[in-house]
Structure formats: structure tokens, C-alpha cells
């Protein structure tokens, strides 16, 4: 009847953890959750509440340029009392001024068209990559990712020199005799489309590639073996199986494109209307913080549904990863 603690000299059974050390350990465990949680609460969620709050205040010529509402300095009761002072004038104004409504609608349309264009441009690239010899696939992948590492601003800027009336594109087209008059592309919606497709192409290609690459090509071979011609095998087999990639890619392009500022500002000129630019101008030029907050709140509401779709797609991908 030997005690194993004595018998097993090297591997001793220690006494079970006391409740106190367990509690301490639980806290350390919790810290892993608590630190990023608190950070995101404070720097991500709370700011939105503030945006919402300020969107309900009135413009004032002061610094900060709005009248305080729902101020905690009066204590909790003051906070609740403040609800009476809320005013929805900014929202009323947004709905009455056609400029904002147009900006929202135009943004959604531009983002939608750009997303489809990006898909059309990106799909063949992703497909070609996925069917490339395995040895060069990593290199191709790197080549798609590489532009993403270079500054967004620089990539948009590069297009100004190309699309200008006296720019490189017109020079080439004039020199080859394809056109006799320079095309006006810069400062039009066409330039915005080009800019969005160009800047967001990697976001489309990467998810498409990863879903196409995972696909078992023998499925297509099986379809062909069963009498399905190549093109219809693509539409009946390959495309449906790549749908998760299509959805992810489209959301990754569409959502940020709606609120895009740099591209419409630099390539779209003053004649084009997009909500990101409107918000920026409202904030920096007109210094109207409450109205820009209201613009942001509505933009966020507009994007809630696509963002929730995106979250769901992420969660699903995570499940499948496991």
C-alpha cells in the first residue's frame, strides 16, 4: 500500500487547487477577454453612442461646436432628464434636403455598380490563379496582395496622372488615332468606378481565390463526364460552389465603397456626390458636427444589414475552419 505521491518521485500528485488560487487563475483567464473587450467598448462602441448623441444636439459656434446633450456631469438623473431636450432637427433637415438623400442613393448605386464591376474583373483573375500550376500559385497570390500593401492614397493618386485630359491614357489614345478629342474621364463617375475597382480588386480576388482553390476540380470533370459541356459545367458546378467567396468578396467591396471618401474626392472632383465626401465636407468645411454625426448615423443604419451579412459570413467561415 504505497502512496503514489511517494512512489512516483518525479511526477508527484500535488494537492488539488484551493478555491482561492482557482479564483485568481479564473481572473487571469478573464483578463484575456477583459482587456480587448474593454478597449473595443471604449474606443469602438462608446464613440458610436457619442456620435448618436451629438447628432441630436444643435450646432453652436463654439469649441466643440455643438450644444451639450445627455451630459453625465449632471449625474444619472440629469442624463435622463436630458432626453427631453433631444432634438431631431438634424434628421428632419437631412430628410428635407434633397442633397443628402441623393448622396445616399448615389453612394449605394455607385458602390453596387462598382461591386459588380469588381466581381466581373476579379473572377477571371481568381479563376486563372486557382487553375494555375500549384508551384506558381503562391507567387501569383503574393502579386495580388502586394499592391494592397502599398498606400491606398498613392494608388488612387497614380490614376490622376493617367485619367487627366492631358494624361497618359488620352496621350496613348490620341497617338494611336483611336480618338481625336481627349476623353473627359477624370472628375466623372467613370473615374470613381475605375478607382474603386482598382483599389478594391484584391479584396474581391482573395476570397474568390480561396474558395475556388479549395474546390475539387474533379467535380467539373465528373460533370463533363456526365455530359455537361464546359461552359455550363462552370455555371452549374464551379460558380455555385464559389458563392461563399463571391458573397464575401462583394461585401468586402460594397460596404467600404459606400462610405468611400478618398476616391470620389480625388477622382470624382466637385461634381460627383457621395455620402463619405458629404460627411467630410460637412465636418471639415462647414464645421457642422451635429449634422455630420447625423449623416454618419444614417450611413451606419444603411450599412447595418450588409454588415450583419458580413458578420454571419465570417462566423460561418470560422465554423468551417474548425
Amino acid at each position: 500500500m504505497t502512496n503514489i505521491a511517494a512512489a512516483a518521485a518525479p511526477s508527484t500528485i500535488a494537492t488539488a487547487a484551493t478555491p482561492l488560487t482557482r479564483l485568481a487563475k479564473g481572473f487571469v483567464n478573464r483578463l484575456v477577454i477583459i482587456i480587448p473587450y474593454l478597449w473595443l467598448l471604449f474606443f469602438f462602441l462608446v464613440p458610436f453612442i457619442i456620435v448618436f448623441k451629438i447628432s441630436l444636439s444643435q450646432t453652436a459656434i463654439a469649441m466643440p461646436p455643438y450644444t451639450p446633450v445627455l451630459d453625465f456631469s449632471d449625474g444619472v438623473s440629469g442624463f435622463f432628464a436630458g432626453f427631453r431636450d433631444l432634438n431631431f432637427d438634424n434628421y428632419t433637415w437631412l430628410t428635407q434636403d434633397a442633397l443628402y438623400f441623393n448622396a445616399y442613393v448615389t453612394s449605394l448605386i455607385i458602390a453596387g455598380i462598382s461591386t459588380i464591376l469588381t466581381l466581373i474583373v476579379g473572377y477571371p483573375i481568381a479563376y486563372g490563379m486557382a487553375r494555375a500550376p500549384a508551384a506558381i500559385r503562391p507567387t501569383l497570390l503574393m502579386l495580388v496582395i502586394l499592391p494592397f500593401w502599398t498606400s491606398f492614397l498613392i494608388r488612387v493618386y497614380a490614376w490622376i496622372g493617367i485619367l487627366k485630359p492631358e494624361g497618359l491614357l488620352n496621350q496613348v489614345l490620341l497617338a494611336t488615332g483611336l480618338i481625336s478629342q481627349p476623353l473627359v474621364i477624370l472628375n466623372t463617375y467613370t473615374a470613381i468606378f475605375i478607382g474603386i475597382v482598382y483599389s478594391y480588386l484584391p479584396f474581391m480576388v482573395l476570397p474568390l481565390y480561396s474558395s475556388l482553390e479549395k474546390m475539387d476540380y474533379s467535380l467539373v470533370e465528373a460533370a463533363q463526364d456526365l455530359g455537361c459541356p464546359q461552359t455550363s459545367a462552370f455555371w452549374k458546378i464551379t460558380f455555385p460552389l464559389s458563392l461563399p467567396g463571391v458573397v464575401a468578396g462583394c461585401l468586402l467591396v460594397f460596404i467600404p465603397a459606400v462610405g468611400e471618401f478618398v476616391i470620389p474626392d480625388l477622382l470624382g472632383g466637385s461634381q460627383t456626390l457621395m455620402i463619405g465626401k458629404t460627411l467630410w465636407n460637412e465636418f471639415f468645411s462647414n464645421r457642422d458636427w451635429p449634422v455630420s454625426s447625423a449623416v454618419a448615423v444614417i450611413l451606419l443604419l444603411v450599412l447595418t444589414i450588409p454588415i450583419m451579412f458580413f458578420q454571419q459570413a465570417q462566423a460561418k467561415a470560422q465554423e468551417q475552419g474548425k
Binding site: 499592391p147 493618386y157 454618419a296
Partner: protein, 272 residues
């Protein structure tokens, strides 16, 4: 597989890459243009690079950007890694849905919203806009990208490695630092690099949250671009591209070498 890599596939890849790279190549080419007109070739010159280094405003902005980038990427990597661990390891806790929402939403959140909301936060708590606020803002939006990168590695992490370490007598914290962390380190490093470049790149959020004396390079470039395209900016952009490209290429070549060595080793091991 080769048979299916048809002419169509090759054409679409070549055209696609031409589309991706041509604008950047042209930008680089015209940074060496003698002429002040960006789009008319007037002979080779490096004078814009020289004048660049005498532009004190640009140099200051570069320094600010570098510091913001390093600090924010480092903090974001720590926070993002913790967030990734939380997402993969703690499947059940109160507020998990909110948490994963807060991690994934910033990935697609329009920058104008993020920028505006952070600015209003800083104003509300009475924090003066400047270096600190830009850094805090960058930490916040880049940590989510780090979280996603690290999380995708953690999902495929073989938990039995940790169990083996504990089975052999290593307590949980020791197991994390001796086993988990070294194994997922490559993902953490690429998370850091991603956070750094995102910070380097950001114009919109920085414009909202920065203040006097903390002008970042993209802000500087933007304000000059608004005034017109100049070869000097082309030169600045070229240097930025070169720095990032060299970094990324070196990293990926090193990675590829390691991978090839590994494959050779594995083949050798199989032969006995």
C-alpha cells in the same frame, strides 16, 4: 491541372496584373521625370528626390507616421492577439456576440464613420488631438485586422500540442508562452506588418483624429495632391512603395525558402 490552365486563364491573369501594376509603374517612372509636368517625359532626373529631402514638412510627417505606425502596430498586435484567443478559445461567455461584432465590424466600417466617432470620443473626454489620439485611433482599427489574421491561424492550431505540454507538466501560462506563442508567431508577425502598413496608409481616420504637430505622411501627401500633381509627390510615393515592397518581398522570399527547405526535409525524411 496544366491542361485546364488554358489561354483564357493566362490572358485574364496577365491583363489583371497589368491593370494592378501599370498605374504604379507609371507613377514610379514619372518620378524620374526631368520635366515639372508629370505626364510629359522630359528626360531622366533624380532632382525630385533631392528636393524631397529638403522638404522639411514632408520629413517631419514621415517621422510622425513611422512612430505612430510602430507604436500602434505593436499595441494592436498584443490586443488583437488577445482578441483572437478570446474568439477561438472562449466560445461561451456573456457578451460574446457583441464582442465578435466589435472585432469584425471595423474591418468593413467606412473610415469616415470610424474617424468621426473616435474624434468625438476624444473631444468628449477632453483629450487634445495630436500624436496620442492618432495612435489610439490606429490601434483601435488595426487591432481588428490583427485579430482576424491571428484567429485564422489559431483555428487550425492543433490543441493537442497544448494538451501534450500540460500532460508533461507545464501549467497553462507556461504552456502558452513555450508552445502556443512560438507556433503562432508567424501569424502574429504578419499581423504586426499588416497593422503597420494600415497605419502607414491611413488618411481618413488620421485626418479626423490628428491635431497640430501630428500631421502624418498621407495627410501631407493628400494636401499637396489637392493642389495638383507634382513629380515631387511621385518621388515621395515611390520611396514609400519601395520601402513596403522591399519589406514584403524579403519577408515572402524568406518564407518561401523556409517552406522549400521544409519540403526537402520532409521528402528526405520519408526516404529514410
Amino acid at each position: 491541372m496544366n491542361a485546364t490552365w488554358s489561354r483564357f486563364n493566362i490572358t485574364s491573369i496577365v491583363l489583371g496584373f497589368a491593370f494592378l501594376y501599370l498605374p504604379i509603374v507609371l507613377l514610379i517612372v514619372f518620378s524620374f521625370n526631368e520635366s515639372k509636368l508629370v505626364t510629359v517625359w522630359g528626360g531622366f532626373s533624380t532632382k525630385w528626390y533631392v528636393s524631397l529631402f529638403h522638404n522639411q514638412g514632408l520629413m517631419d510627417a514621415t517621422w510622425v507616421t513611422a512612430r505612430v505606425g510602430v507604436i500602434s502596430a505593436t499595441v494592436a498586435t498584443v490586443l488583437g492577439t488577445l482578441a483572437a484567443i478570446t474568439l477561438t478559445r472562449y466560445t461561451r461567455f456573456r457578451g460574446r456576440v457583441l464582442f465578435s461584432g466589435m472585432v469584425f465590424a471595423p474591418l468593413v466600417m467606412p473610415e469616415v464613420i470610424t474617424g468621426l466617432s473616435l474624434l468625438l470620443l476624444f473631444v468628449a473626454v477632453g483629450l487634445d488631438r495630436g500624436f496620442l489620439t492618432v495612435t489610439l485611433a490606429h490601434i483601435t482599427f488595426t487591432m481588428c485586422f490583427v485579430a482576424v489574421v491571428v484567429q485564422s491561424r489559431l483555428v487550425t492550431f492543433d490543441r493537442s500540442l497544448e494538451e501534450a505540454a500540460m500532460d508533461l507538466g507545464a501549467p497553462p501560462v507556461k504552456t502558452f508562452f513555450q508552445i502556443t506563442l512560438p507556433v503562432i508567431l508567424p501569424a502574429i508577425i504578419s499581423g504586426w506588418m499588416l497593422a503597420f502598413t494600415l497605419s502607414l496608409d491611413d488618411l481618413v481616420i488620421a485626418s479626423f483624429t490628428s491635431g497640430p504637430g501630428a500631421t502624418t505622411l498621407p495627410m501631407k501627401i493628400y494636401s499637396q495632391v489637392r493642389l495638383g500633381v507634382t513629380p515631387e509627390i511621385n518621388a515621395a510615393c515611390t520611396i514609400l512603395i519601395a520601402v513596403v515592397a522591399v519589406g514584403v518581398i524579403i519577408a515572402s522570399i524568406a518564407n518561401k525558402r523556409r517552406e522549400m527547405q521544409r519540403q526537402l526535409d520532409e521528402q528526405a525524411a520519408q526516404r529514410g
